[in-house]
């Protein structure tokens, strides 16, 4: 299975894409892919710092509330409930200054292409009464097949929209703070924070390695050379990551780190956060009734 939702578009275009012909080379495609990932994260962070409804909420209320909706959309057997949650999510996106057509549109097309292609055969393969017949191919679309495929796509679209809504309205550091107070182990939160922080460093390094290789590249690489270039870059990056981890450990120790992490907790949960959380949970509960 491939990748889906918004990561779909951080991936480089597929082979044969006119924008990047094969001759343009696989090194470029890796440079583009890594740059796009960096860009995607930067854009999410930018939206998360806009002024909007969800941006004003405490990240804990948002995390729990959106998770409740994801659960409701996943647990219900009624399509109408999935549809309602989807509509509410879009409404919240509009109120939170999330660019619906670009940011969410990307998510939707990504899911449609990925989950859609998986759900498609179910239209014909699920046994049941035929609804219509595809001309020429002579395949029957069955009623249960149609229902099963719609359920899969509907659920995938709705849950992906909700997950995107959370990241697009919450800066990563706020998410980490929320996790701290939601009883996720401190160590896990610290490691997640450091992973995210060094992700950008390593993405940048990897892009530079590919770029450097490309600048020295004359002519086309054959397939084996490409493989070699990719795995050697991964190897260089691995060595660099481990060396960095040693140095970071020293830097942590120099400032008193002894294996146990201590964090500041700023727990300010206001009335409006409580109300918002209650509203989220009430909608989810209604959907499951």
């Amino acid at each position: 299975m491939g990748r889906q939702t918004f990561a779909w578009f951080t991936q480089p275009p597929a082979v044969g894409d006119p924008r990047l012909s094969k001759a343009a080379g696989f090194l470029e495609r890796n440079v583009v892919a890594l740059a796009k990932t960096l860009d995607h994260a930067a854009r999410a962070d930018e939206t998360a710092r806009r002024r909007g409804l969800l941006q004003k909420l405490d990240p804990r209320a948002k995390c729990v509330g959106i998770f409740a909706w994801i659960l409701a959309a996943a647990a219900t057997s009624r399509l109408a409930v999935v549809g309602t949650i989807f509509a509410l999510a879009v409404a919240l996106a509009v109120l939170s200054a999330v660019p619906v057509r670009t940011s969410l549109g990307r998510v939707w097309t990504g899911v449609l292409v990925f989950t859609g292609s998986i759900a498609l055969p179910a239209l014909f393969l699920t046994p049941g009464a035929p609804v219509c017949r595809i001309p020429l191919l002579e395949w029957n679309v069955t009623a249960p097949g149609l229902l099963a495929a719609t359920r899969l796509v509907g659920r995938a679209e709705t849950t992906a929209t909700l997950a995107a809504l959370l990241v697009l309205t919450t800066p990563w550091t706020h998410l980490l703070k929320a996790l701290r107070t939601l009883r996720v182990p401190k160590t896990a939160v610290v490691i997640l924070g450091m992973t995210h922080r060094y992700l950008f460093l390593l993405l940048g390094l990897a892009r530079d390695y590919f770029e450097a290789r490309r600048s020295r590249q004359v002519g086309r690489l054959d397939n084996a050379q490409r493989r070699h270039a990719a795995t050697a870059t991964a190897g260089v990056l691995l060595g660099r990551s481990l060396a960095l981890s040693d140095e970071v450990f020293m830097a942590m120790r120099a400032r008193g780190f002894r294996g146990e992490v201590h964090l500041l907790q700023d727990a300010r949960f206001r009335t409006r956060d409580g109300l918002a959380l209650a509203a989220f949970v009430a909608v989810a509960a209604l959907g499951l009734l």
Binding site: A7, P12, T37, L152, A230
Partner: protein, 367 residues
Amino acid sequence: MHIPDGYLSPSTCAVMYAGAAPFWLVALRRVQAMLHARYVPLLSLFSAFSFVVMMFNLPLPGGTTGHAVGMGVAAVVLGPWGAILAISLALAIQAVLFGDGGITAYGANCFNMAVVGSLTAWAVYRLISGRSALGSPRRAVAAALGGYLAINVSALCAAVEFGIQPRWFHDANGVPLYAPYPLAVAVPAMLIGHLTFAGLAEGILSGGVVRYLQRADPALLRTTAPENATDPLQPQPAGGWRTVRPLWIALAVLMIATPLGLLAAGTAWGEWGVEDFSNPEARQHIAAASAQVAPPDAVPSGLERLASLWTAPMPDYAPAFLKSRSLGYILSAMFGVGSILLAWLAAGWAARRLRGSHNRPPSATLV
């Protein structure tokens, strides 16, 4: 391979979280004990590395490209416990920040890729590389095979999770609520895609990185090589046995119980027989769902014989799908591996009991 939200029922997701949780706990405890404070930056940097490597386009034979998960590299460099944590963390960032893989399905994705994948990659790597020198080509081959098999075993897990959805989660009219394909379709569709593309990508990455490290930085391979049994990241069989044993027992029981559970629950199966495989129309759909690779039209003869091990003792009232060969060989393999595991555990336990009663130091018996 990254299962999105909405494909698995919430109860399946809960079970998968529960399945991954003990591995996280044991892995964390072991990594902490072995590395002391150092594990915090090491896991952070390695998870970041895994994430970046998941973004790479790896050229495959034939001109296409694929993406790897990186469990092979992680298992070879960190050992299985470090790999479980590093891959889980990378998957968490992928799921939350990039929407790649679901949030409710995070437990399942971790179980398939981080837990089962890392353990498989490490076991295969250790088994094949044996005591060969750090620079030996055998190590690169072992890593490549480890990665290749790991991703396929992960895919099989995912396929089984998909495949049980229509059986257990459907509405009153029998229409599936989640992933709509039964095991007979999900398993071959997933495996065909992974035996070819995704598996190769993982194999190429693991083998290629090991080959690179052999030339540039062989010290990084020492951690999981047997010459260095006291190395911090490597599991130490003697002292660590107690914490790992419950995991192996759980795994063995699960492997044995799954086919039996299907047998017990399977009386109403079968709207979609395995005849789909010989039906050209259905085969075409399966092919479309599995990256345009046609499913095999016949089960290889060796597997057929293996499958008969499973189908032969099946009572007559067993549902038809359980007698199918394609499913049968997978289930019998699971059953077999689970039984071997249990037998091995029992033998180990008995051996220790025997040795323990003879060699116990006198002081211990006195106290």
